[in-house]
Symmetry: C2
Subunit: 219 residues, 2 copies
């Protein structure tokens, strides 16, 4: 799997632009849990996920977290190069949720190509629009959906990503995804257990009744 | 005040592109309260505010609202032309908060110029990044700030926009800006009154103590 086959507008680049990208491209392998980018780091560059899983989240002054979006194989991360766009006034933290292999295009290389290439600029536009849609979806969830529905949706999404109904995940982690507190999540999960939707054991949440969780999510 | 002087990348357009925009440009005057765009309408086009004030908000199934951002003189509204970007998967409603004069560039004209012009595509990028920053700011407010701070911030912002400490605004309207309920806002405003930060009278909120509201906002 080569970079050229994954980068969506590769064929719209001229030879000079292609050479500049290939000449500066960095390949990196990171372990699960590695912090890849945050507001204090230098501009990391554009990330293209070869394999693995990344999580983008925001952080409050008091250390609370909420997941904004996740990136999977062949996804591109724009906000690790947010220095490229002067109008971006927020900070996103990106960490590896699984062992991940990625390509990094240095921000200044991408920026100079974007400035001269309409296809690259329009691709960047679509990328930002995709993340914008993720954030608007999340905003609607937070504003109009109660926490029980959001926890149900989160468990179903995790089961789908991991391909199993036995989730190895802590209550603290779920709280950090949803911008909530561990105690609140624990109480909610115990309620789900009393309704026989899940079974809790040490470090594991076993989904027993997908249909019931789906009904709750969509109620 | 001409369109050419306000449109930021006018000088980066070629003669053909300039003529296509000028030949298709629509001027429109709308009264306060006019609904300019929503998800059910055809793609309205890019709006450039000549004078006046627009509000962009999202709406829940149950008719609750929350203001996403506002547009003032010379601001450009991208999401009234969201059909241009296929990755935009959300619906924003735009209404005139004051009598407003605007220019409309039809979406298909703007899109075709954006596809061939790197400066226009990059300008669009910056525009989207600005709105994205607005939404991320709002998300942080909703997630980490309590409602008293958000109401204080809203009153101070209104006073600044209107240039007066006597705000003619209903509790319902404030609730719709903040994604809250009228009853909750009324209770909060009564608390502010008891703390001598504001005085309430029919249809009016009189800000008495800006400093105290600012302290609350920043607490």
């Amino acid at each position: 799997m080569d970079f050229q086959n994954i980068f969506p507008v590769w064929n719209k680049l001229n030879t000079h632009q292609k050479n500049r990208i290939l000449g500066s491209l960095i390949t990196r392998k990171v372990k699960k849990g590695t912090l890849i980018h945050n507001g204090n780091m230098n501009c990391t560059g554009l990330l293209l996920v070869k394999s693995g899983q990344l999580r983008a989240y925001i952080l409050s002054d008091k250390g609370r977290e909420i997941t904004i979006y996740r990136l999977f194989d062949m996804d591109m991360c724009l906000f690790s190069a947010s220095c490229m766009l002067r109008s971006i006034q927020f900070e996103i933290t990106i960490e590896a949720e699984k062992d991940t292999e990625l390509w990094i295009i240095p921000a200044e290389i991408y920026k100079s190509i974007m400035e001269e290439s309409a296809p690259v600029a329009n691709y960047t536009n679509e990328l930002m629009a995709t993340r914008f849609s993720d954030v608007m979806w999340l905003m609607e969830q937070i504003m109009w959906k109660s926490l029980d529905k959001r926890v149900a949706a989160f468990l179903l999404e995790e089961a789908s990503i991991e391909g199993t109904n036995k989730l190895r995940i802590t209550h603290e982690t779920i709280a950090n995804h949803l911008g909530s507190h561990r105690e609140v999540i624990t109480r909610m999960l115990r309620y789900f257990q009393s309704e026989e939707m899940i079974r809790l054991s040490r470090g594991t949440i076993h989904i027993l009744d997908v249909k019931k969780l789906e009904r709750l999510q969509n109620a």
